[in-house]
Subunit: 197 residues, 2 copies
DNA sequence: CTCACCGCTGAACATCTGTACAGTCCTCGG
DNA sequence: CCGAGGACTGTACAGATGTTCAGCGGTGAG
C-alpha cells in the first residue's frame, strides 16, 4: 500500500494553490493538474472539494502546530517571552511559507480548520496574557479579550493581506527573512511600549 | 430619466450581498434577485460582474470617504488626535456598517477599489505618523512603515475577520456600539503605551 | 494461479456561472 | 401624434464546476 503517494501530492498541491489563489477560487481540476493527477482521483480520496479542504486544513494545522512547539521556559521576564515568541513565529513562517499562506487565506474564507486555528490561537494567547498578568507584567487596566485579539491581528493580518502588502507596501515577499524580522521587531516594540509618548 | 433607481438598488444589493457572503461567492443572479431585478439588467448597467464590482467599490469608497471627513485640528496633543481618530472610526463604522463590511471583504479578495483604499489608508496614516514624529510624539526608534501597517491592521483586520470574530470570540455583532467602543479603547491604549511593562 | 482490492482514469452529467440578444414597455423631445 | 432612446425582461448559450460511474491495471492474500 503506497496509497499515500497520490493522496499526499494532492494535498500538497492543494495547499499551495489554495494559499496562492484562494480556496473558493481554485477548482478541483486546477488542483488535480498541479498534482499530476485526474480530477476523479481527488473525489476518490476526499469525497469532494469539501473533504479536500478539510484534509488540507488538517495538514496545514498539523504542520503549523508541529513547527510551533512550545518552547516557553517559565520564569523568564516578559520581554524575553515576547521576543522568544516573536522569533519563533518568524522561524515558523520562514520554514513553512505555504502552510502559513494557506492558513492566512483560510482565516478569511472561513474554513472549519481555520476556526479551529483561531480558537487555538485565542485560547493560547489568552492563557499567556493571563499568566503574564499574574506576574504583574500586564498593564492592570488592559482589556484582555481585545489584547488577545490584537496579538492575533498583528500576527495573522499580514498573512491574510499578503497580496495587498506585497503589491502596495513592501518591496519584496512578506515571508522574506529581512522583512519578517522587521515586522517582528515592530510588533515587539508596539506591544512593549506603544508607539507614542 | 429616473435611470438611477434600478442602478442604485443593484449597487446597494450588491454591496450588502458581497459584504455578507463574499464577492466571488455571490453570483450576479443572487444580486439581481436581491435587488428585485433581472440579471440582464445588471449586465446592461455595468457591462458584467467586473463592472459591478468596480461600481460597488466606487460607491463604498465614496460613502466611506465622505463619512471619514478630516476633522483634524492642528496643535492638539497626540493622544487627543489618537482618541479623536478612534472615535471618528467608530462613528463611521456604526453609521455605515454595510460599506465597512464590504470593504473588509474587498481587502482580502483583492478588488481594484480595495487596493485604492489600502493606498489611501497607508499614505494618510504614514503622513499622520510623520507629522506626529516631527512634533516629537513618536518614539524616535519606531519603524514608520510597519507602524503605519500596524495601524491599518488594528483597524481593518476585525472587519476582514468579522465572521470569525462574531462566531468565536465576541458575544455580539462587531459593529455594535459597545463592542466597537471597547475595541477602539483597546487600540488607543495599545498604541499609546503598549501592553506590557 | 486467481481473485478481490485499490489506486487511478476518461468520459459523461447536471448545475451554475457570466453573458448575448432580441424584443417590450415607457418616457420624452419634436 | 410619433419616433427615438433607454430601462428592463425572457430566453438562450457557452464554458466551467463539482460529481458520478464504469472500467483499467497492478498488487498482494488465499
Amino acid at each position: 500500500m503506497r496509497s499515500a503517494e497520490g493522496r499526499d501530492s494532492i494535498v500538497e498541491a492543494a495547499l499551495r494553490a489554495f494559499g496562492e489563489r484562494g480556496i473558493e477560487a481554485t477548482s478541483l481540476r486546477e488542483v488535480a493538474k498541479a498534482a499530476g493527477v485526474s480530477p476523479a482521483l481527488v473525489v476518490h480520496h476526499f469525497g469532494g472539494k469539501e473533504g479536500l479542504v478539510a484534509a488540507v486544513d488538517e495538514a496545514a494545522l498539523e504542520e503549523f502546530g508541529a513547527a510551533y512547539e512550545d518552547e516557553t521556559r517559565e520564569g523568564d521576564d516578559p520581554t524575553d517571552l515576547l521576543r522568544r515568541r516573536s522569533a519563533q513565529t518568524v522561524r515558523v513562517m520562514q520554514e513553512h511559507p505555504a502552510a502559513c499562506a494557506y492558513l492566512g487565506r483560510a482565516l478569511v474564507e472561513g474554513t472549519e480548520g481555520s476556526a479551529r486555528l483561531f480558537r487555538l490561537m485565542i485560547e493560547g494567547g489568552r492563557a499567556e496574557i493571563d499568566a503574564l498578568a499574574e506576574r504583574g507584567a500586564l498593564r492592570e487596566d488592559a482589556d484582555r479579550l481585545w489584547a488577545t485579539l490584537q496579538h492575533f491581528f498583528l500576527i495573522w493580518a499580514p498573512l491574510s493581506f499578503m497580496p495587498l502588502l506585497e503589491g502596495e507596501a513592501l518591496d519584496g515577499p512578506l515571508l522574506d527573512e529581512k522583512i519578517l524580522n522587521r515586522w517582528a521587531d515592530a510588533n515587539v516594540d508596539l506591544l512593549r511600549g506603544g508607539l507614542y509618548r
